[in-house]
Symmetry: C2
Subunit: 303 residues, 2 copies
């Protein structure tokens, strides 16, 4: 059971030798997820020894080149290396038309199925759910339609106080009820109160991904209390007017959001290629929210 | 006046950390040319310090991903970095439809013009000509339409024998005639024979690029006597049936062609990723044609 985030690309607009463009690999409770897929992502996966055949779900925030132009190449490599398992792609609907056109005109028929899930709504919406996790997408504010993603572990069962099992002779069906926050009434009318025999569940893990976007005043409501918030900080606050004009966020703004949302940790990325160092960006953000890290390609974080 | 070929990617199908997919930068008499553009080409250009804003002409052999998927990202970076100069793209016509779809659905309007030149013919054809060079495209035999390219310097002027200028008091207009292989008749009926006063021009430079293709029996007629022939050698001859089935060439076959064509030098590339070393490929080819080199990414050749 793993909760691990790996940064594959942390730069904006165009890939450089120092920073790739946006892509992240997320192992969220053993669900293998790729978030965004700028050009060169398949090489970053190779570089960091991540099997791309194991990826099950791909989330594409928006259709600017630095967030999706590596996806056709990745799918093509999956195909050439023998993939047969379907893959789920969560993306703006135009992606399917782009890919269908490309497949048709280049005579490519993939050996595996792409199952598209379109991001085309105006409010936060659950887009994925299984027994252990939930994923929400929510609109950001960029020059073209763009979505953030919130990955949440479901509320877990309570923990059994093990010494009570023997002491009160608690049977397995009773344990299951107690762990699910339900009291047990035995045949002899005896009541086992779940609060006495179990401990509260640990806090579900959560991760939020927000790029590209201008500063959104009430975004803290959606990303409240997450373990890790990844947010773009394309510019320092000195370039606020440039950030506004291009629908991007400054480090100061991202940190303000993190503070309002009370997140455990803030990761900043999507830095303009004009910054050869992130020192000023990090300093600016930390002046507002100290638990901030400016990420580099290859950085790994445990949720 | 430079004639330089730089290999940007030399592997087949999928990029790896060791070999990128097909792309080459050709400075052909100061015409700046990109041939094929697999994913990651813009990073290779950066790595080898080649200014991609200077590229004037892009030739795309065919629309398999490993030969064109890096082009949209390269154009996008040219745009973001402020390019205004038009660019010429020589490619199968489907490329325009793919790009137009992509630009339209992702709301991109480039700041510069793309001038398309469609490769859609069945015979060798001149596709570019200026005062100094000519470029020909010719169909190869692959699973989808695919073209090879022949870059030829035009026949140069003859060289003036300098000591004769003074000796025979040859004037500039006379020099120009003589260098252009024309005799000069002076007012006094004296005839200056160009063969007596000039030396033959040096052999025009030439470069031929042939990938992807199965072995073509009469291809030597097109690439005859070129300085450098770059040809795919996806497999060794032991895998001839695989080469035939996938419309690729073996090292033995490529060397046979080079020998028949009497080229100065044969460069082999587009190696299947199954080969961790090119030792066997080179050995096989050299047994037929000794002036063979298996290229690596970054290799540079002077024509």
């Amino acid at each position: 059971m793993s909760f691990k985030l790996q940064i594959l690309g942390s730069g904006a607009a165009t890939p450089t030798l120092k920073r790739g463009v946006t892509a992240q690999y997320l192992n969220f409770n053993e669900r293998k997820i790729l978030i965004d897929c700028g050009e060169g992502t398949q090489l970053k996966l190779r570089k960091f020894n991540i099997s791309f055949q194991r990826i099950q779900y791909i989330f594409i925030s928006h259709l600017h080149g630095d967030h999706y132009l590596g996806l056709m190449g990745l799918l093509s490599s999956m195909h050439l290396l023998g993939r047969e398992k379907p893959i789920h792609i969560y993306a703006p609907p135009e992606l399917k038309e782009i890919f269908d056109t490309q497949f048709k005109l280049t005579y490519v028929t993939l050996k595996f199925e792409i199952i598209y899930h379109f991001l085309d709504f105006k409010e936060k919406k659950m887009v994925f759910e299984d027994n252990l996790i939930e994923v929400y997408a929510f609109p950001l504010k960029h020059r073209i339609p763009c979505y953030g993603f919130l990955f949440k572990e479901k509320l877990k069962e309570r923990g059994m106080i093990t010494e009570n099992i023997k002491k009160f002779n608690i049977k397995i069906p009773e344990i299951l009820r107690l762990k699910a926050s339900k009291n047990v009434t035995r045949e002899n009318r005896e009541v086992l109160n779940y609060l006495e025999h179990t401990t509260p569940p640990s806090k579900p893990k959560s991760y939020a991904f927000c790029t590209d976007t201008k500063y959104i005043d009430n975004l803290h409501e959606i990303v409240k209390d997450v373990d890790i918030l990844y947010h773009e900080a394309t510019f320092v606050h000195e370039l606020l007017s440039r950030a506004k004009a291009t629908f991007h966020t400054t480090a100061f703004q991202a940190a303000t959001l993190a503070k309002k949302a009370n997140v455990r940790k803030l990761l900043l990325g999507h830095f303009s290629q004009r910054y050869s160092s992130t020192k000023d960006i990090e300093k600016e953000a930390k002046s507002v929210f100290n638990r901030t890290i400016c990420v580099k390609d290859g950085d790994t974080f445990i949720l």
